[in-house]
Structure formats: structure tokens, C-alpha cells
Amino acid sequence: MQQDLWRPNASIENLRARARVLAQIRSFFAEQDVLEVETPVLSKCAVSDPFLDSLEVSFGFQPGIEDERLYLQTSPEYALKRLLAAGSGDIYSMAKVFRNGEFGRRHNPEFTMLEWYRLGFDDRQLMAEVAALVRTVVPELSVQYLSYAELFERELGLDPHQASLQQLQQVCREHVDAPFEDDDRDTWLNLLMSHVLEPRLHGAVFIHSYPASMAALAQVRDDEQGRQVAARFELFVDGVELANGYHELTDAAEQARRLQADQQQRAALGLPQRPLEQRLVEALEAGLPECAGVALGVDRLVMLALGVDSLDQVVSFMHERA
């Protein structure tokens, strides 16, 4: 049945609209005096996150000499932080990133990521800037702010910081047929978030102050109730994740510890051990300025601007046609 596979899956009209959104993004940052930079897509090191899989590339010199193993980057984060530590000032990158095995209505193994860093900002200031950027593309958008705990308490009557593994599992299974076992609380929180709560988020909603266990590369601080929370936020629009930001970790020793912890978790899950980005640790040792950074899915922003609900309407050639 699949005919005309040489054709783009998106209409030329939509691709014109996409080009306009890209131009609006670049002019937004030009006005704010944020510098556009490009970073390597191919790197000797791979992301440490156990739940992201890098595509491996074999780089050959000549016959008889062993190929070098390189990795397509899942985000420009490591390279951007090395630039920040080298004194770049405010920067952004808008480029392709690659994630192995991710494919679906809202996923493609390669996609365009906008990532930017603002010196002296914390997560709250950066949320306001993300909202401003999104409004340049979708002017009528109204924005709400909710903490992770407020969302769980409001929708499920559950305290995500205190609930036991058994409680989370039980609430999850009331809503989702997921008979597997898992002794990581975060798995159940993620399942509740993605299957139960995200579909209930209407309009644009920033969820902030994630559990400390989900800090990734964000700073951890105490909230008003004295609970440890991550200075991390995500923006959802009509239940679709659009952006993920942090008040960035600048502590080199803590960064080195998190890389090692990821590597150990990878080993425990039987995932490949790949070279860790030690140059990021060195950059933090040299001094990463206090900053906040965020990554935003450009294809999804274009979907929002056009009011369409699948990636194939805004990407010229999806995985099956690439």
C-alpha cells in the first residue's frame, strides 16, 4: 500500500511554516544577544543517561587500522557547557540530535533540538524566558506553573516525595495495566506522569521542582516544606513534553559522581558501557558560570504553531523515508 515513498511526508506548505518558526527563534535570540554556536554531532564520548541510547558510528582511517568508534550526540549539552566554561557567555544551538530506538507519532531517531544557556539565571527566570520564546511562535498561549508535588497531590492525592514504592505501584496499577515488577520508585512516578497526569495537562503547563532523584544535571535545593527537590522543569503543551530545563549543576565532583552512578546503573541493566565525558568534569573544574539551561524540541514547537498532532506533518522525511 505504501506508495510514493520518494515524496516528503510533510506538505511543502508546512515546511514553509517550519522555516518561518526557525527564523523567529533565531531572531528572538539575536534580540536577546544570545550567541548561536554549533557543536560536534559526532563525538568520542556518549551520553551517560542509562535511558538514552547513542547511535554508534565507525570512523575509518584506512584498511588494516582499527576503526575509531564515535557516537552521535543525543543533545549538545556537554559541548555547550565546555563552551560556557571557556567563557562563551550566553549561547544557543539549534541542530539535529540522535536517539537510538526512539520512534513513534511524536518521536523520530533524529530531531531538531534547540538548547540554550543563560548566565546568572535560575530555573524560574529561565521558565519565564521559555514562555516568552514559545509566545513569539504561538502568541495566544496562556501558561500555568505547578510543582511536581502539587500536580501529584491535586490529581492523585499522592505525595510523590514521601509515597512508598508499594503505594506508587498500587496507584499506578489502578490506572494502568502494567503488571511488570520494578523496585525503582522513579519508574512508577514516570509511569504515572506519562500515562495518567500528562494527558490531563491542558494548555501550556510548566512542571517544576522534580524529586531530587530525577535531578539529572540540575542543582538540588530545599523547597518550602524542606523537601529536597531538583531545580528542574519541564514544559508540557496539551500533554506533550516540549522542553526540559535545569538550574545547572556546577560542582565538578558531583558531576563526576553522577557520571559514575549512571555508568554503574548501565552495568546493572546490562547496557553498553561507553566512554564518559570526562572533559565535561574538567570544564566544571575550570569553572562553569552559574547558569540555567533548557532543551526544547523544535519539531514539536512547529507542530504546536501549526496545530497538528504528529511529527510527520512538520518533518520533511521521517525515519521510514530517510
Binding site: 543517561d49 535511558f51 513513534g104 507519532r105 518521536h107 511488570f180 514516570n190 509511569l191 500515562h195 526540559n244
Partner: protein, 189 residues
């Protein structure tokens, strides 16, 4: 039997779930911003017809089900079982009331249909999308009323009762859409 990992799941795949063969109707990749990815699958239980959603972790797997859809010819009903033949191998299978279910009212001898086999046993029968059946009983037609207007029940040779236009007469052969159970037209010729 082979195992499929959740990242290999795709629409139409047949797997064993809680001991029953199921077909994947829709497969969706769900990835939280950070953390483990999930695969949410809309499944149809091929024995009961029940459709529901189940979520798998990224490294979970499911056993493949030995389920095959085979084009077969309907032969006859012996009062208890419905008999079908594979026109290529001439192999015959007999399906019980559970497997045939509602397809019964559309089965005409020598018609082609799809028989779903699980471990070589018939578990369901799908009639052709369109069948041509004779009207065995209906009220007399109304002369001249060939345009729009009312409808009336007609009993077909298989025992099925469908709504037909008033001008249809007993003995005529009709084309019926088995997916909706609705009259389409008079059969050609």
C-alpha cells in the same frame, strides 16, 4: 517460540499475553523527559475479542504467538462444526461455535474467508467484506417505489436478517457488507 523485545513491537504482531493469543492493534512509544521509556500497546485478545491497553518497560519482552491468518473456502456445517479447506494444500479444519461466532450468519458454501489458526486450531473466522446472499423471506415489494423511502426486514439464505429497501422481492440476490451487516445493492446479474 521466539520472544519479542518491547522495542521490536509493531502493529499486527501476535503475542501471548496471560496465556491468550493477542494481536497488537496500536503500538506507542512513551518516553518521559528523563528516565525509563515505556511501550504502550493496544491489544486485542484473539479468543475473546476484548481490546485494552497494556504498558511494557523498555527491556520487557513478550512471547510470540503461533497465529496465522489463512484464506480458506467454507465447505459445510455438519450441525456441530463448520468445515473449511485451504484451497492450496487441500487441508481441512473444523471450527466450533466459539471460533465462528457471528461470522456464521454470512457464511455461504464455497465462499472464501479468513480463518485464524492458533497452534493450528481455528480460533476465529472472518467472512469476506462483501457477500451475495439470496432473500428467502420478505414482505412483497411495493411497485414503483425504487427511489428513497422506508425499509423492511428480509431474511437471507443463511438466516441473517437485514434491513432492505421496500422494492426488494423474495428470491433476489443481494450484496451485503458483513462489517456493518447492511444492505449495499442488488447483486449484479
Amino acid at each position: 517460540m521466539a520472544n519479542y523485545s518491547s522495542n521490536q513491537f509493531k502493529n499486527g504482531m501476535k503475542v501471548m499475553i496471560d496465556g491468550d493469543p493477542c494481536s497488537m492493534v496500536d503500538v506507542e512509544f512513551v518516553k518521559p523527559g528523563k528516565g525509563q521509556a515505556f511501550t504502550r500497546v493496544r491489544l486485542r485478545n484473539l479468543l475473546t475479542g476484548r481490546i485494552w491497553e497494556r504498558t511494557f518497560k523498555s527491556n520487557e519482552s513478550a512471547e510470540s504467538a503461533d497465529v496465522m491468518d489463512i484464506d480458506m473456502e467454507y465447505l459445510y456445517n455438519d450441525g456441530d462444526m463448520w468445515h473449511f479447506m485451504d484451497p492450496n494444500s487441500f487441508e481441512q479444519v473444523a471450527a466450533d461455535k466459539n471460533a465462528v461466532a457471528d461470522a456464521d450468519k454470512w457464511l455461504k458454501e464455497q465462499d472464501k474467508c479468513v480463518v485464524t489458526l492458533w497452534n493450528d486450531n481455528p480460533i476465529s473466522v472472518t467472512p469476506p467484506n462483501f457477500v451475495e446472499l439470496e432473500v428467502t423471506e420478505t414482505d412483497p415489494g411495493l411497485k414503483g417505489d425504487t427511489a428513497q423511502g422506508g425499509s423492511k426486514p428480509a431474511t437471507l439464505s443463511t438466516g441473517a436478517v437485514v434491513r432492505v429497501p421496500l422494492f426488494i422481492e423474495q428470491g433476489e440476490t443481494l450484496r451485503i457488507d458483513t462489517r456493518t451487516g447492511e444492505y449495499v445493492s442488488r447483486a449484479n446479474g
